[in-house]
């Protein structure tokens, strides 16, 4: 009897010892040492554009800068011998410059007519110059294109009026003649990050593929150029798409410059598809519901859409416009400069029914008009234009998007988006090959953006991030730049790539602990 009891206890004891070894972690994170691997993080500098500077909500402001992805990375590097990370902080939390045109303060979410909308704030201060404060680790310059990093005088205050300088670099450039690269080289950093090239296509895209010129209060828009075979940026207008050869050459020049002062270890990121940001994906191409159009729907069909379609069909372009549907959402009317201009033909066809003056106006207005498709991107800023009346255009053909086409600057058409994609792919091919040939860590930011844009987004500890405007959590109120949480996601991609390349063990950040969109 006792034997049996003893054996039972023995079995229990055995069970106890056999299994208890799996009750505790093999490795406790508290015992993990953060190591630098083959890298040296003691002096880290970051180069890039607005994304690198911590720009968000349409402005650069101090609390946003404190949540820039380079400052997050630097914070983790500190656990492995990293030094201080100095940023050229804006002296207020509003941003903008009140002594320069076109630099409003940050957008804030306000309740306007019962719904939330981003509203720009009044800039808090004039441009402040910090160059007396020595060098800065975060050298991200909002608005910088690839070739700007190697442009002397980019921080020359006198060049602001002529557009050869950038106020954000004026703030911390060491001299009027220096370049971002020269100031970076002078720091003789042990580690760098470089994320540049977005603006070489982005400004083209956010302006609907146009350049603008304002003379005497009147702004005119002309189609921007997709530069190829021209690597002289002084001949570019501000929203042209940079020649891929220029972008590759500029990035190579930056890498060579850094290499010449011994800054050989670093990380470089490619460019996300710009058209996947909320600025392009928020406003639908077909917002004209029957409810919205109401009684106008039939009037539009009989007096405008019908005759137009009939005339266009005669010239073999009947697919440009279809009658408005009374059951489903309808696309907006847009002007597509890639279309054959049928102004003269339309005028001729419509003259018998409308008379010459009206027919001439119709011809000019609708010569390159078509209905938008799912391949066109209506800009976020265009949402307030749709349904408003076009100045100097006779009623009833003066309602933007409905009876008057949205203009070139309002829409990134399928053709223009194609140019953007071609350029982005070309830039990314050279960024990848430069990363490989210079032996740098490489961040596939484009892939991460694609993931964020997917149906399921990216989740961190139960918080789901998507590329949806305002509610997606990753993008700030300008629809292009990220929130602190979005930058946290970016920081982790950089950290993962650095660890993979240099065998370091920098911990990732927790994106959820940074700030997101602030609700009023």
């Amino acid at each position: 009897m006792k034997k049996i009891i003893i054996s039972t206890i023995a079995v229990s004891a055995l069970l106890f010892t056999v299994t208890s070894c799996n009750t505790d972690f093999d490795t406790d994170v508290k015992d993990i040492q953060v190591t630098k691997g083959d890298a040296d993080f003691s002096k880290y500098i970051s180069l890039g554009n607005s994304l690198t500077s911590g720009y968000r909500d349409g402005a650069l402001y101090s609390s946003g800068q404190n949540e820039s992805y380079p400052s997050m990375i630097a914070g983790q590097m500190r656990l492995a011998g990293g030094g201080d990370f100095k940023q050229p902080l804006i002296p207020n939390d509003v941003g903008g410059f009140n002594n320069l045109p076109g630099f409003p303060g940050k957008l804030t979410l306000q309740v306007v007519n019962g719904s939330l909308s981003p509203v720009p704030s009044t800039p808090a201060a004039a441009l402040d110059v910090l160059s007396g404060g020595g060098s800065y680790n975060n050298m991200g310059v909002p608005g910088a294109k690839s070739f700007h990093l190697v442009a002397p005088g980019y921080g020359n205050q006198a060049g602001l009026a002529t557009g050869t300088a950038n106020p954000y670099f004026v703030r911390f450039a060491s001299s009027a003649t220096t370049s971002v690269l020269a100031d970076a080289m002078a720091q003789k950093a042990t580690f760098f990050s470089l994320w540049i090239g977005n603006n070489d296509v982005l400004s083209y895209a956010t302006n609907g593929g146009t350049n603008s010129q304002t003379v005497g209060g009147v702004t005119t828009y002309t189609a921007a150029t997709v530069q190829t075979g021209n690597t002289n940026p002084t001949t570019y207008k501000s929203n042209d798409i940079s020649d891929p050869a220029l972008v590759a050459g500029s990035i190579k020049a930056v890498l060579d410059g850094l290499k010449s002062v011994g800054t050989t270890k670093g990380v470089i990121a490619n460019i996300p598809s710009v058209t996947s940001v909320p600025f392009f994906t928020t406003v639908p191409y077909n917002p004209l519901t029957p409810a919205l159009l109401g009684a106008n729907l039939n009037t539009l069909n009989t007096s405008l859409y019908g005759p137009l379609k009939q005339a266009l069909t005669a010239f073999g372009a009947g697919d440009r416009i279809n009658l408005l549907s009374a059951t489903g959402p309808n696309p907006v009317l847009i002007k597509d400069v890639a279309l054959t201009d049928l102004s003269a033909q339309l005028t001729a066809a419509l003259t018998p029914s409308l008379g010459l003056p009206t027919a001439t106006a119709f011809g000019q207005i609708f010569g390159q008009a078509r209905q938008a498709t799912a391949d066109d991107y209506i800009l976020l800023t265009t949402s307030s234009v749709i349904g408003s009346t076009a100045a100097g255009v006779p009623a009833p053909v003066n309602v933007y998007g409905i009876s008057y086409p949205l203009q070139n600057q309002h829409v990134l058409t399928k053709t223009e988006a194609g140019y953007v994609k071609t350029a982005t792919d070309a830039y990314n091919a050279s960024i990848k090959s430069l990363a490989d040939s210079y032996g740098l860590a490489f961040v596939d930011a484009a892939a991460k953006m694609l993931e964020l844009n997917g149906q399921s987004g990216i989740s961190f500890d139960g918080v789901k991030y998507t590329a949806k405007f305002v509610t997606g959590g990753a993008f700030s109120l300008d629809g292009v730049h990220l929130t602190g949480r979005g930058y946290g996601i970016v920081a982790n991609e950089f950290i993962k790539s650095i660890n993979a390349k240099y065998k370091s063990t920098l911990p990732q950040v927790d994106p959820n602990k940074y700030s997101g969109v602030k609700f009023p």
Binding site: L15, T19, V111, D461, V463, F519
Partner: protein
């Protein structure tokens, strides 16, 4: 010998999460023998198998007992090197039952138990706060039952189950910088159970039982949101107090049990059980809010569905009892309990592990009175956490102990 038994008995504790949030603590005597079921000594058999009532020696039997269950869960994140421990309050499952046999063929009974529940409390600002800060689940089963002797060696019993429940869940709402409390104190549901109990030989008891699933319906729950500013209330269509109603259904799953007890000698018996739990019913949790468009359903934005992807699980139990005298009994047991979900579906509000548990206890009989104590020590196997849907990655481990004290009264 006795010393060893006593010290084993004092190793208190059990992981009360028998997969998900099933609490295997419905009988102190049973627990001491790994919570096996084929024990028809008193009214505590009621929860395990209504048919067992017919084999209780006394016509009237009354039992009651309670437990103290303590546990701690740890989660560590290799990406960020964060490590978090829960601060869970001690759980107090209890049971009470009464059976009466007016005629030899028929026995009636009532059982009150708390078979499902869990309370987990993570630090308020821990990395997983969006999923859970605190979750309290409680359930009470009220089971009137009847059992009929079909023959001297077999009985059939059935019960109706009325279940009451409480859910109280705090979690962060990170995107709006606030938090939400999801609360319903009046959830309820109905179910049934039945079983056969065999005694083909004086030495052998066999218990076969089924307990149905119960859909705990929270019909009039309240979700209370707290945000830094009230402007969001309007956007989310909440009332002035930041509240919205919700309804949800939480499945308390069905269980199949087969158990046997064999008297090796008049003083020594051995029991074994096999349970099968239908956790796959818990494939998702759907919260249907009255007005707040905070869901993820494309056709109705007030419906929030979270995948849970539980799967059916099994438990194997082995227990033994030895009568030192006709007053003092020693008991031991060990069981193995499977977690009801894979690594990809680990969730921090109801953490589950493949768990080995050793149990032990002492029983004292004084005429019609019985006093039993039991204890247990759980050895949850640490596991990897790889929940891509939540973006929750790392490792988790747990510890658990429990103690129980039970009383029985069998007057005639």
């Amino acid at each position: 010998m006795k010393k060893i038994l006593v010290s084993t008995a004092l190793l208190a504790g059990v992981l009360s999460y028998a997969g998900g949030f099933r609490v295997s603590l419905q009988g102190v005597k049973q627990l001491a023998m790994a919570h096996t079921s084929a024990h028809a000594e008193d009214a505590s058999v009621t929860f395990f198998n209504p048919a067992g009532m017919s084999f209780i020696p006394s016509k009237l039997s009354v039992v009651a007992g309670g437990f103290a269950a303590s546990n701690k869960v740890t989660f560590q994140n290799f990406n960020t090197l964060q490590s978090t421990e829960t601060d869970n309050p001690v759980g107090t499952p209890f049971y009470a039952a009464i059976t009466y046999r007016p005629i030899e063929k028929l026995t009636v009974g009532l059982s009150v138990t708390t078979p499902f529940g869990s309370t987990i409390k993570w630090p308020n600002d821990w990395e997983g706060k969006e999923m859970v800060q605190k979750l309290e689940l409680k359930s009470f089963y009220f089971q009137p039952m009847v059992s009929v002797k079909l023959a001297p060696w077999v009985s059939f019993g059935a019960s109706y189950i009325y279940a009451k429940g409480v859910v109280d869940w705090d979690k962060a709402v990170t995107q709006f910088g606030g938090q939400v409390n999801i609360n319903d104190k009046k959830a309820s549901g109905h179910g049934y159970g039945f079983g056969f109990y065999f005694r083909p030989d004086p030495k052998l008891d066999v218990s076969i039982a089924y307990r149905s699933a119960i859909d705990m319906k929270a019909k009039k729950g309240t979700a209370t949101f707290q945000f830094p500013s009230q402007s969001i209330y309007n956007q989310l269509k909440l009332n002035a107090a930041g509240q919205d109603g919700f309804s949800a259904t939480l499945p308390l799953v069905e269980e199949y049990t087969i158990g046997l007890t064999y008297k090796v000698t008049p003083k020594w018996q051995v029991s074994a059980d096999f349970n099968y739990h239908g956790w796959e019913r818990y494939s998702k949790l759907t919260l249907d809010f009255e007005n707040a468009p905070i869901g993820n359903n494309p056709s109705d934005p007030t419906i929030l569905t979270s995948p849970k992807n539980f799967r059916n699980s099994k438990t194997f139990r082995l227990g033994t009892q030895y009568a030192f005298t006709n007053m003092i009994y020693g008991r031991l047991g060990a069981y193995y309990d499977e977690a009801p979900y894979t690594t990809d579906n680990f969730i921090p509000e109801t953490p589950s592990y493949d768990t080995y548990v050793v149990t032990g206890g002492i029983g004292i009989k004084l005429k019609q009175f019985g006093v039993d104590i039991a204890g247990g020590y759980a050895m949850p196997q640490y596991r990897n956490v790889n929940n891509a849907n939540l973006g929750f990655y790392g490792q988790s481990k747990a510890t658990a102990f429990y103690l129980g004290l039970g009383l029985s009264y069998n007057p005639f």
